[in-house]
């Protein structure tokens, strides 16, 4: 039906008043009023909650980037990405405690241990994600689009069971080695070191990723493959290698997120990846899937919304409703603005 999905002209970009946009504006206005009311009730807790939200948002961003990278290139929702994130957390705990005997109160030696663990986790998760692609998605490259989506769900379930087999059905505790002392404490707003570590890690990773995709030869190959697989193959790009590379990057990002999550929250369970993966996917859709800055923006927004929902003092629905709220956002976005906040970068458009 929507054959004219090409770039909209300037005239089309001028917003026309419509029912759906009016509803959307009312919705956003109510949200803003609610936030302002909460801010006036207790400014310090509002800022505190928002800081927590930003930290969670950073974690989501790393996972959401994995979804958006893979979707951008294959137009496939890699359901297994969230579970690779879970494996990342599990690997981080196992590597650091079993191989390097990490435990709290070790002094400065934890820094090299954590760095080596992080590298190992990223490598493992990248390899696992690439293996999933090789086994479950590549043989179905020409099949109807339903087929790889179904194998993606299958892969996700299998990885959950792998987590269940090796790490059991309970929470796996991580040593709390990130310092939780405060960096600064102004008027009741407590910014702790473990939050800062998440920020300090996420921001450079995002910059490196942007550089990789937009400036390097490999990034150019990725963008070309995303635009037109056949044409880029004719131009001499090894499409399969490029796709594998994308999966490695996505897996490494998910692994890094798992690493941070494990030491920030200090517990991981085998089925947490799927839920968090869906939330991160929502973030990717919110920002505009296939769009790297969009994924980060969406993830930060979702992180903030989740934290506000769970932590604000005045009429917040509470953590029982987080999932419903996130999925309602997903559905609303898909229905009213399928291209996301920053616009989608896939050939088909909205």
């Amino acid at each position: 039906m929507a054959a004219d999905a090409s770039a909209p002209s300037l005239a089309e970009r001028i917003p026309r008043p419509s029912l759906s946009s009016a509803i959307g504006l009312v919705f956003v206005a109510v949200l803003v009023l609610w936030l302002i009311k909460n801010f006036t009730v207790s400014p310090s807790s509002f800022i505190q909650v928002s800081l927590i939200g930003l930290t969670t948002g950073c974690l989501y961003a790393l996972v959401a980037l994995g979804y958006t990278l893979v979707y951008g290139i294959l137009e496939l929702i890699n359901f297994a990405n969230g579970d690779v994130f879970m494996l990342g957390g599990m690997f981080a705990i196992t590597y650091s405690t079993h191989f390097f005997n990490l435990h709290p109160g070790q002094g400065p030696v934890i820094v090299p241990i954590l760095i080596v663990t992080l590298v190992l986790v990223m490598l493992s998760c990248g390899a696992i994600n690439a293996t999933i692609e090789r086994v479950a998605y590549r043989p179905l490259r020409g099949a109807p689009r339903l087929a790889p989506l179904i194998t993606a769900i299958g892969a996700s379930f299998i990885i959950q069971d792998i987590g269940l087999i090796f790490w059991g059905p309970n929470y796996v505790p991580a040593p709390s080695v990130f310092p939780t002392s405060s960096v600064f404490n102004i008027g009741g707003v407590n910014f702790t070191w473990n939050m800062l570590i998440v920020f300090l890690f996420t921001i450079p990773v995002l910059l490196v990723l942007l550089y990789l995709v937009q400036r390097t030869r490999q990034g150019k190959a990725m963008r070309a493959t995303a635009q037109d697989m056949d044409a880029s193959a004719m131009m001499g790009i090894d499409v399969n290698r490029t796709i594998s590379f994308t999966f490695v990057i996505a897996g490494a990002l998910a692994g890094a997120a798992g690493f941070l999550y494990a030491f920030y929250v200090t517990a991981v369970r085998f089925d947490q990846g799927f839920q968090l993966g869906l939330i991160a996917f929502t973030a990717a859709v919110l920002g505009g899937i296939g769009n790297l800055p969009g994924a980060v923006l969406g993830a930060v927004l979702i992180g903030l919304i989740q934290a506000w929902n769970e932590g604000l003092p005045w009429h917040a629905p509470g953590s029982d409703w987080t999932q419903s709220i996130v999925f309602s956002i997903l559905i609303l976005i898909l229905v009213f603005r399928p291209e996301g906040l920053l616009g989608e970068r896939t050939p088909e458009g909205g």
Partner: protein
């Protein structure tokens, strides 16, 4: 075993075989005369059976039986085959389990039905075997590894899930829309039944056709026979409400939106014990008990007790030496509901609407160009699928006499999807077989298999101690991937779907949507294994 070793050795010796070792061995095997092949394979079966005898006796006998049945079906000439069949049946009649003899006799008799009568004969025999299942379920033989035959309560569970799979098949198989939130309709049906046939709302007392309960009992109590279609319709309305805004999205976005609904609804059910102070769903404790169906004393007396007054206080009747229990009556009602579902599904498949679904599945743009209203047609697929999901959910809620939010997780959606995919998307018979098998596995099979594994496998002093049902979802994951990679059309595919998966939908558009003779011939040309690329 020796063959496997030889294969391994040969593959080491000749790594660069051009045609592939498997193919070459297969070719050499097929070059042997039929008698030699029969002798060799019977020999292998006997040797393996003797080896298996030391692990588990039943397994050895089972393998021997399967081998015998296979070679009887391969026997060419009529008198030989008839004699062999009679002999095998006789062996089990005298020595082995009688029930296996009866099953074999039925199977052999069916194999002599001429092809043009096969469809309805098979369906009729399957229906008869199902209807009489409560009479012989307890007397069946023990299957190696899988254990005893499922009991009648498991049978009800299987029938309900078959019904849901047939409903989901309308959405996924016919219309090609991936629905990852089918469990939402199941939940909708179950909660509809729970609201209108329990004491959930004690402030209003309204009885309408309810039987078998105190007429002054608080709460809303509506007859279950009215609630089943009502649940279906509410689910269908929900399907339309979900579908109208979302169905214009492309396939994978639709999947994710349905997944979202499938996650939101159980959460509402879980948190619904105080929605603005109102107890809608009783939260994680669920709603229980539910009223049970029945026909009332008037009808019951008029039919001489044939139709029970109330399913739970059933029954005094004894038929064929079998004491009828309430589970049996639930079972037969489920058979009736399933028949209705299958009938509707088959009639829909070849209707104008069904052909429109197929057209949309194969090429949406072409279908739109041919004048098929996309939105309306897709919404109807959603509504139809949801309708049967709702009925199944309501019936299962009534059967269990309880509704818990924990029953409606994402896993169930994938579980039902797995049934449709394993059986063969688009083919009602395949979907039914796949659903029956997986529902059985989920309810009894995995536990039985796990128990067998843990009891019989031991290497030296090591014994596995695996809780197999714990890993159910991973097993479904393996099934999903394996089917998609090796047989994307499912075990019993519809021909048309198989062609789509093998030829691709866009390369060779299938323009005629009539299911006529010319189409079938061309279709055969597509999937002809000997033929070169057409």
């Amino acid at each position: 075993m020796t063959e496997a070793a030889a294969t391994a050795q040969a593959s080491v010796a000749e790594p660069g075989a051009e045609i592939g070792l498997g193919n070459r061995l297969r070719a050499r095997w097929h070059a042997l005369p039929e008698t030699h092949r029969a002798a060799i394979s019977l020999g292998v079966i006997v040797v393996v059976s003797i080896l298996l005898y030391f692990i588990d006796h039943a397994l050895a006998y089972g393998l021997l039986t399967i081998g015998a049945v296979y070679w009887i079906f391969r026997l060419p000439r009529l008198p030989y085959r008839l004699a062999a069949e009679a002999g095998l049946v006789l062996v089990f009649l005298i020595a082995g389990p009688r029930s296996l003899a009866a099953l074999l006799a039925i199977g052999f008799a069916l194999s002599w039905v001429p092809p043009r009568h096969r469809d309805y004969t098979y369906a009729g025999v399957a229906l008869l075997l199902t209807v009489f299942y409560p009479f012989y379920a307890g007397k069946m033989f023990t299957v190696p590894i899988f254990g005893v035959f499922p009991d009648v309560a498991t049978g009800v569970y299987m029938l309900v899930f078959i019904m849901m799979a047939v409903g989901l098949n309308i959405v996924v198989g016919y219309a090609g829309l991936l629905d990852l939130g089918y469990v939402a309709f199941y939940a909708m049906g179950a909660y509809t039944a729970a609201w209108f046939a329990s004491e959930q709302f004690p402030h209003r007392t309204w009885h309408f056709g309810a039987v078998g309960i105190d007429p002054h009992l608080a709460g809303i109590h509506v007859s279950i026979w009215l609630l089943l279609p009502l649940a279906g319709m509410i689910a269908a309305l929900a399907g339309i409400a979900i579908g109208l805004p979302t169905l214009r999205l492309r396939g994978d976005y639709l999947a994710i939106v349905t997944l979202g609904f499938g996650e939101i609804l159980p959460q509402i059910a879980r948190n619904g014990d105080s929605l603005f102070g109102f107890n809608l769903t009783n939260g994680p404790n669920g709603i229980t008990p539910l009223d049970s169906p029945g026909f009332g004393h008037g009808v019951s007396n008029a039919t001489g007790g044939f139709l029970p007054a109330n399913y739970l206080q059933c029954c005094n009747a004894k038929i064929l030496g079998h004491q009828i229990q309430s589970t049996d009556v639930f079972f037969w009602t489920a058979v009736g509901l399933l028949l209705f579902t299958v009938f509707c599904s088959l009639r829909l498949q070849y209707s104008r609407l069904g052909r429109a679904w197929i057209a949309i599945r194969e090429d949406e743009t072409a279908a739109a160009a041919m004048g098929i209203p996309l939105m309306r047609t897709k919404t109807w697929a959603y509504a139809a699928g949801a309708f049967f999901g709702g009925i199944a959910g309501a019936y299962y809620g009534v059967f269990k006499s309880a509704t818990f939010p924990g029953d409606f997780f994402f896993n169930i959606s994938v579980f039902i999807l797995c049934m449709v995919i394993l059986g063969g998307m688009g083919n009602v018979w395949g979907v039914m077989v796949g659903a029956a098998f997986l529902a059985y596995l989920n309810q009894e099979g995995l536990a039985n298999t796990g128990a067998w594994l843990n009891a019989n496998i031991h290497v030296g002093g090591w014994r596995p101690n695996i809780d197999v049902p714990l890993y159910a979802s991973g097993i479904y994951g393996v099934i999903l991937i394996a089917v998609m990679l090796f047989r994307p059309e499912g075990l019993i595919p519809s021909r048309r779907r198989a062609a789509e998966f093998h030829e691709g939908v866009h390369d060779q558009p299938l323009y005629d949507i009539e299911h006529d003779e010319a189409y079938i011939q061309r279709d055969e040309a597509y999937i002809d294994p000997q033929g070169a690329e057409t």
